[in-house]
Symmetry: C2
Amino acid sequence: MEEILRQTLLYDFYGELLTEHQKQVYEDVVLNDYSLSELAQSLSISRQGVHDMVKRSTRLLNEYEEKLHLVERFVDLRGKVGEIHKLTENEKDDPSMQKIGQIAAEILEEL
Amino acid sequence: MEEILRQTLLYDFYGELLTEHQKQVYEDVVLNDYSLSELAQSLSISRQGVHDMVKRSTRLLNEYEEKLHLVERFVDLRGKVGEIHKLTENEKDDPSMQKIGQIAAEILEEL
């Protein structure tokens, strides 16, 4: 998995277990690609302080994944539901297939 | 949802975030239905001590659910995949349907 995708998924699943401050900094630096210096300036803390916060949050998110494996399960599940969705695509005349395709699309949207 | 099912799901998803000791006590009392006095005796702590540990673990598990909503998402997802599985049951002659039924069954087993 690409690192940025992995970081986004980790944050999607476990972000709510970080503090508001940790979330803010993680979002800005990792997901929105702000520079450390830029953020350090706007938060009035040192560049090193921002760097340490991101590092700590990343470690926490990885620790949650090591314990709960949700991202791993999610990627596997998403692949399987995607496979189901694909199998319905060429059989749209069949009403059951159509219904299955619809449910699979709903799941993929929610995942 | 029945309370015992909810407690089992909460534990399935977030149990790994409890300490070994909390896990042990939660499993014994909530999932395996040992009596508080029995467990208190075997752990050499007070009955009230066991009661407090279970209460605290239950609160922790519920707090994780309030933040991450995994049990809620899981129940919804399981319902939808179950629906897909059901739709394939009467059309087992169709190879695509057969394949979809198989994938859905795999997902249900893993969930």
